[in-house]
């Protein structure tokens, strides 16, 4: 793509440098932006195409020479190698592109390791991809055959091909099947389709590669495109899954933000008292819950919250309270999550409060004192407004972070406990993200459905973040 743009534009050099040819100032405006982004993407894809070409070439040579199969990650190296000359040429022709070279490493990484998986996930959302429908040969539906010629097979052992391959139609038309070619250094799958079956003769839709020696033909459980059926299943069961989970996700994110901010700000104001001795000691000690990695501290908590033997209920008993069903009862489990998340989050909020308070100039208070304002009015008209301004982005960030805070749910409760009427993928404390995880990796390994959930979560998250960013002024700052 990039090359065609360049050759077409070369003619225009004479009359004033379209596309900023030869110029170090980039073309202006939206058209300029679109051109630049198009060019950068074009360079990436061109390099990828060349990389693929080189890698496939090497593979073909290795195959012909009977070498070991080349490592597949050579593709990465080839792509980057191919990119270097393209970049050198491009910057000669359009010097303004050099600005973009600062962004290129990050763009390449994002395209390869984030965008590509996301696009693939969107695609999976419309398929029936699962542990069983994985596009792989099924060793439970396998027959012994003899290859008569590249398109004809003869079934051995007196079995009925259509039954043993579990064909949808008696003549198996269109059924995808596979041979495993085990002769090389790696096992190759030879995929093909059946055109028809009559008696014990199978006719294939396309010719097998020459020299294939294999005797076992397996059914392939295809990944099929199923349209919106994953989404319609989500909405059909909305009252059991989507709705309660969404409500709890929002509740959790809202309450945990409120609780953490209130505690953090109170502690911050208390510890900011300059008369207080040992305040640095207190601060350092209270820093500890922040410093311990969450993956470790949350797991410590699961033991402390054990209903019978946990230290917390033993403490309850010591002060004469009955044991609480932490992690056993749905409501208490939710309380436990809020409690542990407070423990994890208050040092951060406290630190942020101290930071925000120390940014308030002392003169403000002095001026207020001269005007006769008492401590309460100083707090109300100076401290709180200043804090609110500093805390708006923090509050929004905390909300967004907790909306997808899979870690605490997974590690603390695993979505448990179960309550009547809940499906196995969505228990009392599951949030949207852990619901997706359960669907993808635990019950039934339904990856298509999980991808559909991921798509829903992505839209919700982007919506929330848009609001956050416009309030926090990220758009304005980024435009600077």
């Amino acid at each position: 793509m990039a090359t065609t743009v360049r050759t077409r534009s070369r003619k225009k050099i004479a009359d004033g440098g379209f596309f900023g040819l030869g110029s170090s100032t980039p073309p202006e405006g939206a058209a300029g932006a679109a051109l630049a982004i198009g060019l950068v993407l074009g360079i990436c894809f061109l390099a990828l195409a060349l990389g693929l070409l080189l890698a496939n070439g090497l593979n073909a040579i290795a195959d012909a020479q009977n070498w070991d199969e080349p490592k597949r990650y050579w593709l990465l190296a080839f792509t980057i190698l191919a990119m270097i000359p393209i970049l050198l040429v491009a910057v000669k022709v359009m010097p303004w592109l050099s600005n973009w070279y600062y962004l290129l490493p990050a763009i390449v990484c994002l395209l390869a390791f984030t965008i590509y998986p996301i696009v693939l996930t969107f695609y999976f959302a419309f398929t029936n991809y699962s542990a069983i429908n994985s596009g792989e040969p099924d060793s439970s539906a396998q027959i012994e055959v003899k290859i008569i010629n590249p398109t004809t097979l003869s079934v051995l052992g007196g079995v009925v091909a259509a039954t043993d391959l579990r064909c949808e139609t008696p003549d198996c038309a269109g059924r995808s099947v596979a041979f495993l070619d085990e002769r090389g250094s790696t096992i190759k799958k030879v995929l093909t389709n059946i055109e028809s079956v009559s008696g014990n003769t199978i006719t294939l839709a396309s010719a097998l590669p020459a020299g294939l020696e294999a005797t076992r033909l397996s059914r392939v459980n295809d990944i099929k495109i199923v349209g919106f059926s994953n989404f319609s299943r989500i909405f059909a069961q909305a009252s059991q899954q989507l709705v309660p989970i969404f409500i709890w996700t929002v509740e959790f994110a809202v309450f945990t933000t409120i609780i953490n901010v209130v505690f953090g700000v109170l502690l911050g104001i208390l510890i900011n008292n300059r008369r207080l001795k040992f305040r640095n000691v207190y601060r350092s000690l209270l820093f500890l819950p922040w410093a311990v990695p969450g993956v470790i501290s949350i797991q410590m908590w699961t033991k402390l919250l054990d209903a019978n033997f946990g230290a917390l209920n033993r403490l309850f008993g010591f002060v004469g309270l009955n044991p609480a069903p932490w992690l056993i009862d749905g409501l208490w489990a939710k309380a436990a999550i809020l409690l542990v998340n407070l423990w994890l989050g208050f040092p951060y909020m406290m630190t942020a409060t101290v930071g925000a308070l120390s940014a308030i100039p002392d003169e403000l208070y002095e001026a207020a004192e001269i005007d006769g304002a008492n401590r309460w009015n100083q707090t109300r008209f100076i401290t709180l407004p200043m804090l609110t301004a500093a805390f708006t982005p923090i509050i929004l960030g905390t909300f967004a972070f907790n909306f997808n805070n899979f870690g605490i749910i997974y590690l603390l409760t695993g979505g448990k406990p179960i309550e009547a009427g809940q499906l196995p993928t969505a228990h009392s404390t599951d949030i949207l993200l852990s619901w997706g995880y359960n669907t993808a990796f635990l019950n039934g390994i339904d990856r298509g459905m999980a991808s559909a959930i991921a798509v829903l979560v992505a839209f919700l998250t982007i919506g929330i973040s848009m609001v956050n960013f416009s309030v926090a002024g990220v758009f304005k700052e980024a435009r600077k």
């Binding site: 270097i84 970049l87 910057v91 542990a131 040969p137 060793s139 439970s140 495993l180």
Partner: protein, 412 residues
């Protein structure tokens, strides 16, 4: 100048790839195992010994310790990509349906010779038989039974009322003394009671194969079974909230605080280490049940990757592992229950083999069809809800579980 930057990134990428990616040699047989402790040492020694035999053809065995919960997902994902192990030692037979439909298991019918076959319990071979083909070589079987502390109780009463009465007499939670403990939240352990009341997981077709559309977990029998389990906690006050955790029960039993405990052979090394004078027996037939108590039998076996490049050596090692001698030495190490008839005959006197053997004889093999994967979750949920409060609506809970199971099975 920018070129240097790009070149650095390029060099780094290549270095990363070259430096860290793994390489595969041809004469290596890789094996995943979830053996631990003494059994792992036994397994490592067996691998060493096998390497020296001619059947190994000079190949090196590469053992990788995995945990059981990790194998299913990892293997199903990795095997078709050529990244899986050649052999897994071992998986429980109820998982093979899922493995086979994912296309990752090699049929092993031809690797079980006639002599070994005739020496192996038929039920163990059936457990690894899927749609007429053998997809793994069975190694040992396991079933839960009641392990009792002879110091606290002489024998297990053979009648349910007497059993409950004896257990109640020995129960005093305040002093951490328990007459009878069982993981009543785990469907695997509770199957014996469900089955005693006539509940079943899958019904059978006319040809004897399992019918995944006929789920028998919401039958009248299932409701009675759930009621019986609920009574253990709420009516007879035997198993207080929190004590259904098997690890905790093990802890209490090995401290001599529990008279009778429902568990499997996997805990026997801990019981032996604690020098408890133990006996093993069956749970009596619950009052009102139509059949005797009948637990699930799990068979553990070795399975082979369909994409393995070293099938002959891997199969030879699997055959080596299921030989009578190695079954006996494994039993000596940890107390696994052999499935070789001659090994069983030789170990007749061993109390563990005798006790769990009887439970195994009374039991029924777990279904091994792929649909079983959809049963565990909802059934476990229903059971857990059935023991949370006194007398919930058992019928409703189990009906919902069956609906969820059928929903999961039929969505494909």
């Amino acid at each position: 100048m920018k070129m240097r930057n790009t070149a650095v990134v390029a060099a780094l990428t290549v270095a990363l790839g070259l430096g860290i990616a793994s390489t595969q040699g041809a004469s290596k047989v890789s094996i995943w195992t979830d053996f631990k402790g003494g059994e792992l040492a036994w397994f490592t020694a067996a691998a060493k010994a096998f390497e020296a035999t001619p059947a190994a053809k000079g190949a090196k065995l590469e053992l990788t310790s995995v945990i059981l919960g990790e194998t299913r997902d990892k293997f199903i994902q990795a095997a078709p990509k050529g990244e899986g192990p050649d052999l897994i030692a071992t998986i429980p037979h109820d998982q093979i349906g899922e493995f086979v439909t994912a296309g990752v298991l090699e049929p092993m019918t031809k690797y079980l010779d006639a002599k070994t076959k005739s020496d192996t319990q038929a039920s163990a071979i059936d457990a690894f038989n899927y749609k007429g083909k053998l997809f793994g070589l069975p190694m040992w079987s396991e079933a839960v039974a009641v392990v009792y502390n002879k110091k606290l109780i002489k024998s297990i009463p053979s009648n349910w009322e007497a059993f409950i009465a004896a257990a109640q007499k020995l129960t005093n939670p305040e002093k951490q003394e328990f007459g009878f403990l069982a993981p009543i939240g785990i469907q695997y352990h509770m199957n014996g009671i469900y089955r005693a009341f006539g509940a079943y997981v899958f019904g059978k077709n006319k040809d004897g194969s399992l019918n995944p559309q006929d789920i028998g977990l919401a039958t009248e029998g299932a409701v009675k079974a759930a009621q019986t389990i609920n009574d253990l906690r709420f009516k007879y006050k035997l198993i207080p909230e929190g004590t259904e955790n098997p690890d905790l029960e093990k802890d209490l039993f090995t401290k001599g605080k529990v008279a009778m405990w429902l568990t499997g052979p996997w805990d026997m090394s801990a019981v032996k280490d604690a020098k408890i004078d133990y006996g093993i027996g069956l749970l009596p037939k619950p009052t009102g049940a139509t059949k005797p108590w009948s637990p699930f039998i799990g068979v553990r076996g070795l399975v082979m990757n369909a994409y393995s490049k070293n099938k002959d050596v891997a199969a030879a090692f699997a055959q080596y592992l299921i030989s009578k001698e190695s079954q006996i030495s494994l039993n000596q190490e940890g107390g696994r229950l052999p499935i070789s008839k001659s090994a069983l005959a030789q170990l007749k006197g061993d109390p563990t083999v005798k006790g769990f053997g009887a439970a195994s004889a009374a039991g029924i093999a777990m279904p091994n069809i792929a649909e079983m994967g959809s049963v565990w979750g909802p059934w476990g949920d229903a059971l857990n809800l059935s023991i949370k409060t006194a007398n919930p609506d058992f019928a409703d809970l189990h009906k919902k579980a069956v609906a969820a199971i059928l929903g999961a099975i039929n969505k494909k």
